[in-house]
Symmetry: D5
Subunit: 96 residues, 10 copies
Amino acid sequence: MLFHVRMTVKLPTDMPAEQAARLKADEKELAQRLQREGTWRHLWRIAGLYANVSIFDVADAQALHDTLMQLPLYPYMDIEVMALCRHPSSIHDDDR
Amino acid sequence: MLFHVRMTVKLPTDMPAEQAARLKADEKELAQRLQREGTWRHLWRIAGLYANVSIFDVADAQALHDTLMQLPLYPYMDIEVMALCRHPSSIHDDDR
Amino acid sequence: MLFHVRMTVKLPTDMPAEQAARLKADEKELAQRLQREGTWRHLWRIAGLYANVSIFDVADAQALHDTLMQLPLYPYMDIEVMALCRHPSSIHDDDR
Amino acid sequence: MLFHVRMTVKLPTDMPAEQAARLKADEKELAQRLQREGTWRHLWRIAGLYANVSIFDVADAQALHDTLMQLPLYPYMDIEVMALCRHPSSIHDDDR
Amino acid sequence: MLFHVRMTVKLPTDMPAEQAARLKADEKELAQRLQREGTWRHLWRIAGLYANVSIFDVADAQALHDTLMQLPLYPYMDIEVMALCRHPSSIHDDDR
Amino acid sequence: MLFHVRMTVKLPTDMPAEQAARLKADEKELAQRLQREGTWRHLWRIAGLYANVSIFDVADAQALHDTLMQLPLYPYMDIEVMALCRHPSSIHDDDR
Amino acid sequence: MLFHVRMTVKLPTDMPAEQAARLKADEKELAQRLQREGTWRHLWRIAGLYANVSIFDVADAQALHDTLMQLPLYPYMDIEVMALCRHPSSIHDDDR
Amino acid sequence: MLFHVRMTVKLPTDMPAEQAARLKADEKELAQRLQREGTWRHLWRIAGLYANVSIFDVADAQALHDTLMQLPLYPYMDIEVMALCRHPSSIHDDDR
Amino acid sequence: MLFHVRMTVKLPTDMPAEQAARLKADEKELAQRLQREGTWRHLWRIAGLYANVSIFDVADAQALHDTLMQLPLYPYMDIEVMALCRHPSSIHDDDR
Amino acid sequence: MLFHVRMTVKLPTDMPAEQAARLKADEKELAQRLQREGTWRHLWRIAGLYANVSIFDVADAQALHDTLMQLPLYPYMDIEVMALCRHPSSIHDDDR
C-alpha cells in the first residue's frame, strides 16, 4: 500500500552543529536502507525548503507508523500523511 | 525537471452526466498519452477524494504550464504546484 | 485496516425536496448494508452539524476509495480521511 | 454521552528522556484504567503522527473535562473536542 | 448541559423577499418559544454581522442536535458548537 | 454594553508550580470580585480546554480593555473579542 | 465609541449593470449623510480592492449594528468589526 | 500617502520588567514625536488586545518602512500593512 | 513607487466562450499598453495556475487603484497587493 | 528559468547584536555577488516587514535550491517558492 508523506524539518537554530550533523547522517543511513529494501519508494526534495515529499510502500498504516517513528529526525519534523490508491487513468500496472 | 502537482476536481453537481462523461474520457485519453510520452511520470488517486497527486517530468515551468492548460478538466480543478529536486539521501541516480 | 473519515454534507438549498429525500434514503440503505457487512464500523453524527465521523474497516486504501465513491451523497460531501493504526496504550486486542 | 477528542502531543525536544518516559508510562496507566472503566471507549493512533483519536463515554461535558485534566501529558497536548450523537442511519442500538 | 453555538446566516441574495420574511418570522417564533421553555437560554446578536451567539441548555448532545435541526433558517447557517462546563472561578451556583 | 471574550490560557510548561498556583489564585480572586460587581457577567469553561467564554458588561470598549489588562494571567492568554448587541428575537428585556 | 470596520464588497458578476449602479448610488448617498452626521468618521479605500476601512463613531454596539444594517450594499459585503479604544500613547485628546 | 498598519506586540513573558518598561517608554516617546510631526496620523488601541491600528501619512513606501524600523518595539511586533487611497464616497477633501 | 500584485482569475465555467475570449483580448490589449507606458513593469505567469505576479510602477496607491479598476477581467480576479521599497542589499540604483 | 521567492526573516530577539550584524553582512555580500552574476535578478523589500520578494534566474529547481541553501540567514527564514513562466501578454521578449 502506498502513502504520500510530506516531511518538513525544523531543527532548533541553537542545536550544536555536531549533533545536527550526527542526526542527519543517521537519518540518511536509515533512509537509504529503507530505499534499498523498497519501503521508501520515492524521495524528493521540495525546491528551496528543508522538506521532502516521499512515497512509502508498506503493508498497512501500522507499518508506515512504525517506519516513521524510527527516523532520527522525526522529533523535529512536521508530518502530513495521505493514503494513495491506484488511479483509473494510470497506464502502469504497478505505478511505482 | 520534476514538478509535484496536486489536482482537486470540482465538477458542478448540475453538470449533465453526458458532458461529465465526455470530459473524463478526454481527460483520461490525454493523461494516458502524456504518461506514454514520459511527461506525466506518476499519477496516484488520493484515497477518498476526487483528487490526485502527480509527478510531471518536463523541460521547465513553461512546459509544465502548457501541459496543464491542455487538460479538459483544468477549468474545474484546484491546482497546487511544487518544484522538486534531487534529494541528497536518494539512492537512485534518476529518482523517477 | 481502519480509516477515520469525516463527511460534511452540503446539499444545494434549491434541490427539490423529493430529490433530497431519495438521495438520503439511498444513502441510508447503503450505509446500513455496509454496517451489516462490517465495512462501516462506526457512524456518529457531529452534534449540531449535517456531518458525521465514521470508522471504516477495509482491506486497504483502494477498498476505502471504492466504498466512498458508491455513496449517493458523495458529490455533495466534503471528505477528510486519516489512516488509523493500533494505539500502544489500547487494551483491546481488536479495538474496533 | 459520547465525545470525539483528537489529542496531538508536542513534547519539548529538550525534555530529559527519563521525564518523557515517566510521563508516557503514567499516561498509559491512566489511559488503560479509563478504558477498563468504560470512560475511554476507543483509542486509535493517527498513522504517522504523535496524535490519537479517542471516543469518550461520559456523563456530560464536566465529566469529560475532569477526565482530560487528569492526563499527565495534558500540558503538552493540543486538544480538539466535538460532541457526538446517534446517527439516524446507525444500525447499532448502542453504537459504541 | 450547556452548549455554546455560533450561527452565521447566509441567505442567498436572490431569495424572494417574501420567502426570506416568512423564514425569519418562523425562526423568530420558534426561537422565542425555545427561550420561554428554557432551552435557548441566551441569544445575542454579534455587532455588525448577520450572526448570533447562543447558549443552549439541553439534556445532552442529541437534544441540542434535534433542536437545531428544527430551525427554519438552519439550511442557510454556518454552525459552530462548543460544549461548556462550569468554570471553577464562577461564583454562581448555576451560571446560566 | 456586552462583550463576548474568549480567553485561551497558555502557561509555559516550565513555569514553576508555585508561580502558576499564585497566578491562578490571583486570577480567581479578581474574577470573582468582577463577577460580584456585575462586570464579568458570565464565565464558562470550554470543555476539554484551558479556555473560557466570558460575557462582560461594561460601559464601553475602554472599560473592557482596562478590565482585561488587570488580569494576572493576561500575558499568557490569547484573546478574542466580539461586541454584542440585543438580538431582535430575544424575549428578555435585559438579556444578561 | 469607535469601531473599526472592514467592508469587502462582492457583487455577483451577473448583476445587471443598472441594479449595481443604483445600489452604489444609494450606498454613496447614505455614506455621505452618515459622514456629515459624524457617525461614519473615516472612510478609506484599500488600494486595489473593492473594499474599505471605516471608522464609526457611535453610541454603542447596537448603534453600530443598526447603522450597518441600513447600507444598501450590506447583503453583498463581508464585514469585520473591531472595537477600538483610546491608545495611551495618543497625543490627541480626541483622536478621531 | 496613507498606510493602514496593524501592530500586534508580543513581548516574551520572561523579559525583565525594567527592560519592558524602558522599551515601552521609548516607543511612546517616538510615537508621540511622530504624531506631532504628522507622520503617525491616527493611533487606536484594539479593545482587549496588546495591539493597535495606525494610519501613517508618509511620502511613500520607503518612508513608511524607515519609520517602522525605528520603533523600539518593532522586533516584538507582528505587522500588517495595507496601502490606502481616497474613497470616492468620502466627503472630506482631505480625509485624514 | 512599486507595488507587487498577485492576480488570480476565476472565470465562471459557464461563461460563453465568445465573452471570455473578448474579455481576454481586451485585457491583453490594455496590459500591453500599460507595459509600453511603463506602468506595468513586470508580468509573469505562475506556473500551472491562471494567475500572475505583476510589478506596477505608479505615482502612488491611488494610481495603482485606478489602474487595476480599468482591467476588463478585474471583476473575476482575486487580488493581493503589497507595497515594495528598495532593498538595502540591492545593487541596482533603480531596481526595476 | 525564473522562480519567485518570498523570504521572511525571523531572528531570535535574544541573538547577540554582533552575531546578527555578522549574519546580515555575510548575507548582503552573497546577495550582491549573486545579483552581479545574474542569478538573483530582482530583490525588493516588502514595506514594513523584515521580508523580501526576489526573482531568481537559474538553470532549474536544483540550482535554486543550492543557491538558497548557501544564504547565511536561511536557517532563520520562512521561504515560499513559486515557479514562473512567460506570460502570454508580456511585451518583453525576455521579461526580466
